[in-house]
Amino acid sequence: MDIFNTFLNWPVFVDALPMLLKGLWITIKLGALSIVLGLIGGLMLALCRLYGPTYIRGIAIAFIDVFRAIPLLVLLIVIYYALPFIGVRLTSFTAATLALTIVSSAYAAEIFRSGIEAVPKGQFEAARALGLNYFWLMGDVVLPQAIKIVIPPITSNSINVLKDTALASVVAMPDLLKQATQAQALAANPTPLIGAAVIYILLLLPLVRLVAVFEKRFAER
């Protein structure tokens, strides 16, 4: 068999498409929710890490470091399969969202921190000298500048979360990639995997380009 029959087999792809689309829907649902929650959580964590009282700061650092180090697969298994032993029984969707959110917020926290630290000290001083309280200092002055700086890595992180939904199949949430490997096994042909890659690219490229446009408009100031 040649490369086309093996990796770009049209009938196999057409066969697999309905499965892939079913997986895509899970990927999007789970991914979008975890990205949004992860960004919010990450921002909170970054602020705790930078400005919290010592013990809060310690907790934030531990949270960030441990949940970046732990493999998502293991976290998912613990949340979904171990928690019932202590009486917490989550649905697979909740468990997957929770695990993805925890991990993505740990990553996002470090990104936001780098952005906040890149805002010149003079900006904080000017805001404080004007009497702005912590909330407005962050909201009006520091975060708009910090977020502008970190748009590229935040985009990367969001893409990562979307792709990490693949691991949710371990808690019986078959996402796009899982559906593709399954279709591969059924047909004994890797074409569905290539199909999934194409779908990922079709899904992500426009989003990434859109972010780039926003970024440019931002930068023009």
């Binding site: 003079g122 000017a126 000298a129 100031r221």
Partner: protein, 245 residues
């Protein structure tokens, strides 16, 4: 009893092992204009920054309107009453000039955006820059930025104004205008601490001139005493070097 709006008692500030200012004692009455002069690195900026706790001081006390300046609940309120114009301009690059000026009145004083922006426009007119209100800071020249910074501090109508070389980036024409604004503020009874090299301004407006060297206040007195009859030898050399060029 005359209330001193600012009382500074035995203040010292160290950066690591380096002592930037030490043994600073200075009381400033309401409505007084104090000009701080001294050579580069003598601690003028550091002193100004300690007054609104942008630098925490290591020894002594600073009181603004009787309240000790320290970390805590009332720090924000103290700061809202102490306006500051920076040596670097520190405008907010993510908002228009108009927003820069209107922001604090809205966020701290609770004005509506409409009202705050109207007042901001008036201040921008006063420093001759109203035409640029919708531009962003990066689009302005250095002098224009400095004038915005002054308008921003004035917008809070503070009780005390700290100026750290407010005219250093201005061209002479503008220096005159800005000094006029400051003079009128002085007449309105606003308390001011001005770090400046504008000896003309010091002579005309200052109630008191403070000369710093090596982190200490070496001499203080009325402009007449300082300029016409300096006692400290270092002050004498300092003044001579200024007049020589």
């Amino acid at each position: 009893m005359v209330q001193n709006i600012i009382e500074i008692k035995g203040v010292e500030k160290r950066f690591g092992k380096f002592t930037a200012i030490t043994d600073i004692n200075l009381d400033i009455a309401k409505g007084e204009v104090v000009v701080v002069i001294g050579p580069s690195g003598s601690g003028k900026s550091t002193l100004a920054r300690c007054i609104n706790l942008l630098e925490s001081y290591d020894e002594g006390d600073i009181l603004v309107a009787g309240v000790r300046v320290e970390n805590g609940a009332n720090l924000s309120a103290v700061r809202a009453d102490v306006g500051m114009v920076f040596q670097g301009f520190n405008l907010f690059p993510n908002m228009s000039i108009l927003r820069n000026v209107a922001l604090a009145p809205v966020r701290v004083r609770g004005l509506s955006w409409r009202e705050a922006e109207q007042r901001a426009m008036k201040l921008l007119e006063r420093v001759n820059i109203a035409a640029q209100a919708q531009k962003y800071p990066s689009q302005l020249s250095g002098g224009q930025q400095q004038r915005v910074a002054i308008a921003r501090a004035l917008a809070m109508e503070p009780e005390v104004l700290l100026f750290d070389e407010p005219t250093s980036a201005l061209d002479p024409e503008m220096v005159g205008e800005v000094l006029d604004v400051m003079k009128s503020l002085a007449q309105d009874g606003v308390t001011m601490i001005v770090v400046t090299h504008e000896m003309g301004f010091a002579r005309q407006v200052a109630d008191r001139v403070v000369f710093m060297e090596n982190g200490r206040i070496v001499e203080e007195g009325s402009p007449d005493e300082i300029f016409s009859n300096p006692k400290d030898p270092r002050l004498k050399t300092f003044l001579e070097s200024i007049l020589s060029h």
